[in-house]
């Protein structure tokens, strides 16, 4: 309820484009994980996350994304997090995860 995920495969960019809306927390991280894993099962490509409407992510969510990154890197693919809100950007910086994921503004 607190989390919505919309995804589509972009042929032009040859990657999954995923919009994450709401809160990725201890209650919802599994839901997002299942969706991302499903996408990678369908097509193992980079994942681009539009984070402009992601309100919150906790260590559970970050831990889950680290697991996804490992899968992606094994195939030389990336996890790209675009336009995170300032609190989430701060969290990514504090934890050093801005070097593990590709984080950028667009």
């Amino acid at each position: 309820m607190a989390l919505k995920v919309r995804s589509l495969f972009s042929e032009r960019n040859d990657r999954w484009e995923v919009k994450v809306i709401g809160e990725v927390d201890i209650d919802s991280a599994d839901e997002l994980k299942l969706k991302l894993v499903d996408l990678l099962m369908e097509k193992n490509r980079s994942i681009f996350i539009n984070a402009e409407d992601m309100d919150y992510i906790d260590s559970t969510g970050l831990g889950m994304l680290i697991g996804i990154v490992k899968r992606l890197k094994a195939e030389n693919n990336d996890l790209i997090i675009v336009n995170p809100k300032s609190g989430i950007l701060k969290l990514l910086t504090i934890t050093g995860l801005d070097k593990v994921f590709t984080v950028r503004e667009e």
């Binding site: 260590s59 680290i66 609190g87 504090i94 050093g96 593990v100």
Partner: protein, 130 residues
């Protein structure tokens, strides 16, 4: 000094209500947006730890003291407790999903104290200055 307390069931689906209350009180008492975000993260991580590591505890207690210059938040459980190994940050390449919570709390709050009684569970008290 204003006091607030919240008790919720120790279930992951209710952790968001503790975050929400803490951020609402921080907002009502005039903390800036960045501090409110910090409080949200810290309360979230502290409650997550109760859900994950203190399942013996039926409930999670949040106690908030709102002073002139700061907000002090305690998250209390009656679980098994633990011995804290100082949070030293994580090496993302070796990260197996553990140790991030207390590290985040330390990073975003001004002061953090953890008390574990023998059979008294864990109390983590986190202070945010204005």
């Amino acid at each position: 000094m204003d006091f607030f307390s919240l008790t919720i069931p120790n279930k992951k689906e209710f952790v968001s209500s503790a975050r929400l209350l803490a951020t609402a009180i921080a907002g009502l008492s005039g903390f800036d947006v960045e501090s409110i975000e910090d409080i949200r993260m810290a309360v979230g991580e502290a409650c997550n730890n109760v859900v994950v590591h203190s399942q013996d505890s039926d409930k999670i207690d949040l106690e908030i003291e709102l002073g002139e210059d700061n907000m002090r938040i305690s998250v209390v459980d009656s679980g098994a407790g633990f011995e804290r190994h100082l949070a030293e940050g994580i090496d993302p390449d070796k990260y197996e999903g553990s140790g991030l919570g207390l590290f985040i709390i330390d990073a975003v709050m001004d002061d953090v104290e953890i008390h574990c009684g023998d059979e008294n569970g864990t109390t983590i008290t986190m202070t945010k200055k204005r």
